[in-house]
Symmetry: C2
Subunit: 183 residues, 2 copies
Amino acid sequence: MSLPHLLLGMLDAPASGYELKQMFDGTLRHLWAAELSQIYPALKRLEDDGYLSSRESPPAKGPARRVYRRTARGTRRLRQWLGASPEMGPLRLGYLGQLCCMAETGGCERTAAFLEELRDLFRGQLVKYEQVDAEWFRLHPGYPDALPPDLFHAHLTLRAGITRVEAAMTWCDESLRRVTKRT
Amino acid sequence: MSLPHLLLGMLDAPASGYELKQMFDGTLRHLWAAELSQIYPALKRLEDDGYLSSRESPPAKGPARRVYRRTARGTRRLRQWLGASPEMGPLRLGYLGQLCCMAETGGCERTAAFLEELRDLFRGQLVKYEQVDAEWFRLHPGYPDALPPDLFHAHLTLRAGITRVEAAMTWCDESLRRVTKRT
DNA sequence: TTGATCATGTAAGGGGTTACATGATTTA
DNA sequence: TAAATCATGTAACCCCTTACATGATCAA
């Protein structure tokens, strides 16, 4: 949907594909997942289209790295994305598909067990988000509202994840009450 | 991710691809979006794999329709899906990607405008969900907790959408407060 | 010297979208 | 008779994942 845009945004400073992957696994892991096998072709494509330039980094130590930086054209493209309307994209939540078909199992026992497992999965996500929150708090002074702009915006997205998961857990509990009352 | 599974679940009663599309646009439109150009090949594939059987419906009036029904094998496959753990799948929310890069615009004016537009989009989604809710209430007696099992489960998924969007709006408001305070 | 990490990729395949092609029937 | 709706599909093209291939360096 917009991995290329996001890569443009992450290339505020020049970086290699490998480093970008580490950002995805570190700072952005609550927000976006991306595989190296997707990142490398995406970077090449962005370069072919003139949004990035690259050069081999002299391998003083370790293997050679290809370092990408935004071109002026790339920055224009990024600004255009940031000036556009929010990308809402359709949500396809597999667990809701399963739940919607759950009448097929007869009775509500399976539905209740499913919702309990789901709540536990959300709880696990929440724990991870809160670990990220705690680590950022430890690392960065001024947390969270006096952070520098890039980290402040990242924190807004972290809060989005936390409120989303909390709401999902509330919904699970409400649903469990309704399901057990039907039994 | 699981359109084929969902199709198996929707084929509780035999139906054509066109009818299934209408279910997606009607009852399930809050839950899943699917195009005919994806549905038809998916049905063919499910038939090739032995999960569905089909026959041409005699076209008493209108063009010929191909009607699919679940085989015993298809029902087993469906039950297996419903017995599996909830499919959590990674979330890739384009608007969070944009927000995370928004420091590039300098200042917070663009961020505030973006969050306001986002909140309005969520409000629009909420209105649609509530229209669905109201229409179901009008059509179905016993709404919502004394509904037959299939509609009850569909209502659980509708509630999931409503709580999700409400939480998103709360997050937007919280974020707007934080952003304007920084100005 | 063996395995972990650094670093870059290709290949195959699933899932999804938009645009296009075809033709019958119903309604204005 | 022209347009909307019914009905089924194909083609081209993204996006993404898993598995595989390759080779260098570093630490145990």
